[in-house]
């Protein structure tokens, strides 16, 4: 069934179709309507879930962890400082190997206080052992929820997952969405199987207890191993998703990168705009491409390298205010390209933070600045780019190179 809905409603439909059994969420802009729509579903009886009203995001994640420990499928959603308040329990969810799915309507972390979109919230939790998927449109906001459960609950994985949707640009943007049939989702996503750890009053165990140096590494190492298995599991899950629903997803999407001199790397809703710009420039004979990261964790180093290695210039757009470092996406891309010969020139920009729109002009500006820098001033340290020509909408910062060692991951890439 085709409907017009915003990204938050799409996420709620995705959770209902996934037959989540417990929802615990605390309202925060721009996520609140996810919790509201799910509460309505529970109230009208279209979702047979226990809806837990909690007094904070810390409690929301604690309740979600507790529910997941009993073996049920648990869901929560948050944003920004709500995610920051959860942070202590974020690690508990991953360390306890609980396949929770959480939607995040990306919103800037303070300060200054902001209600609006950037990725600083999910970037703050990026190394806590959660899988991360970034949607580009409302259809993906829906589809990624059952997909995330399928990957997270796989016996080879058993890790929690975030479905990230850009605050307002997706959470409140209305778009046409195909709502999958429940029977198809049921066949794609069967009931949750036995997990690694299960709380049962009949057989009491202690979990997440004080763990000394002799055993801490022994708990963390399997998490890293499980995360390395995610690309294979996700590749199979996405292939089956394509067979069942007719929409083929991939962990990395390379669009017209094959013969591109200049490739732009980005995540989230802005990829739609970049896609549009790439088509425009291609029609003018310029060899440009887009590399879109759907999964940021685990980071698909090999596929990023394979897609970008032929480009002369790589431009990375971070929707995160990097302070004292380069943007996290840029750092990962540089890591992926380390050791290639000849290496592409990598330029990184911060744009679209705190809700600032990224219109076509900003994308074009980033490309022009990067190409000018590559030929004129080289790769010298961080520099602010003033943007008077772009009126008040644009704020682009060029930042400095950094590179360290590479951890491999295997993914199957499919073109857009």
């Amino acid at each position: 069934m085709r409907q017009v809905m915003d990204g938050n409603t799409a996420v709620a439909y995705g959770a209902r179709l996934s037959r989540v059994q417990v929802v615990a969420a605390y309202p925060i802009t721009p996520q609140s309507t996810i919790a509201e729509v799910l509460a309505s579903f529970c109230d009208e009886g279209s979702l047979n879930a226990r809806y837990l009203r909690v007094e904070s995001e810390h409690s929301a994640m604690s309740a979600t962890v507790g529910a997941s420990y009993t073996g049920v499928r648990a869901f929560t959603a948050t944003a920004s400082v709500g995610l920051a308040l959860m942070m202590e329990v974020i690690g508990v969810a991953a360390g306890s190997r609980l396949p929770i799915v959480m939607a995040v309507a990306n919103r800037a972390l303070c300060s200054p206080w902001s209600l609006w979109c950037d990725h600083s919230d999910t970037m703050a939790m990026r190394d806590q052992g959660w899988i991360q998927m970034y949607a580009e449109n409302c259809q993906e906001a829906l589809d990624f929820v059952p997909l995330a459960y399928r990957i997270a609950e796989d016996p080879l994985v058993q890790l929690p997952a975030v479905v990230a949707i850009d605050g307002f640009f997706l959470s409140h943007m209305s778009d046409t969405v195909e709502i999958p049939e429940q029977e198809k989702v049921d066949s794609f996503l069967p009931p949750r199987g036995p997990g690694l750890m299960r709380m049962d009053p009949a057989a009491p165990v202690a979990a997440n207890v004080l763990t000394g140096p002799p055993f801490f590494t022994e708990a963390k190492y399997p998490m890293a191993e499980a995360m390395e298995r995610v690309p294979g599991v996700a590749g199979r899950a996405m292939a089956e998703f394509g067979r069942v629903f007719g929409r083929q997803y991939a962990q990395v999407v390379a669009y017209r990168c094959e013969d591109a001199d200049t490739a732009l790397v980005a995540m989230g809703s802005v990829c739609g705009t970049v896609h549009h710009v790439v088509d425009k420039l291609r029609s003018q004979g310029r060899k440009v491409g887009l590399l879109r990261l759907v999964m940021f964790r685990p980071f698909p180093y090999d596929e990023v390298r394979a897609a970008l290695v032929r480009a002369k210039n790589v431009i990375v757009l971070d929707r995160t205010p990097a302070v004292g470092t380069v943007g996290p996406l840029q750092a990962e891309v540089r890591t992926a390209l380390y050791g290639t010969n000849p290496p592409p020139e990598v330029s990184g920009f911060v744009a679209g933070i705190g809700g600032r729109d990224i219109p076509e002009a900003t994308v074009l500006r980033a490309m022009e600045e990067a190409l000018a820098a590559a030929s004129a001033i080289g790769r010298a340290g961080p520099a602010f780019v003033d943007a008077p020509a772009l009126e008040n909408w644009v704020d682009v910062i060029r930042s400095a190179p950094a590179a360290t060692a590479v951890a491999p991951a295997v993914v199957e890439v499919k073109s857009r």
Binding site: F169, H172, S269
Partner: protein, 177 residues
């Protein structure tokens, strides 16, 4: 692709109107449609914006609209609050204005290829359904039938028929110039 900017005030149903146009086109006319509200720290009476794109092809752009093919002005007094209704308009841009006066009397009239005026405040407690009807009449980009179906879906038993009626009345009453 047609791009719209809706200008109004908090409480006038601007964001809902954008969603309804989007739903009417996306569900009942089978085209691709997108509505993006520009959220600020809204409060009742303060300027509110929303953007709509309608297209025969999938819509990749996820940014705001800067060069509208049509604007919907829910309150012609908005320029007194510093809102620039002429931002990004070109000689082909059309305008739909909530006004009891003939379209040619609107002081910005000459900047637009076509202006439709309707007294939306007389058609319903909130002007959005009437403005959608006037949008259909002015631009011809959306059928009044699709619009009223989307309006009935949205308002349901609580005002569906009444609001569809306001849209139809506005469709018939819109004065063009």
């Amino acid at each position: 692709m047609k791009q719209l900017i809706l200008y109004g005030r908090g409480g006038q149903g601007v964001v809902t109107a954008a969603k309804l146009i989007c739903t009417a086109a996306g569900v009942y006319e089978g085209v691709y449609a997108q509505a993006i509200p520009a959220f600020t720290a809204e409060r009742r009476g303060a300027p509110v914006y929303a953007y709509v794109r309608l297209s025969d092809a999938p819509i990749d752009l996820k940014s705001f609209v800067y060069e509208p093919d049509a604007i919907l002005v829910f309150d012609p007094e908005l320029p007194s609050l510093g809102v620039n209704l002429l931002s990004g308009v070109n000689p082909a841009t059309m305008a739909v204005v909530n006004s009891a006066h003939p379209p040619a009397d609107w002081d910005l009239h000459s900047h637009f290829a076509k202006v439709g005026a309707v007294d939306a405040h007389r058609l319903g407690p909130v002007p959005n359904s009437a403005m959608i009807g006037a949008f259909c009449a002015t631009t011809g980009w959306l059928s009044i039938d699709a619009a009223t179906r989307a309006i009935k879906d949205y308002f349901g038993a609580r005002g569906g028929d009444a609001n569809a009626g306001y849209a139809k009345q506005a469709f018939a009453a819109t004065r063009l110039a």
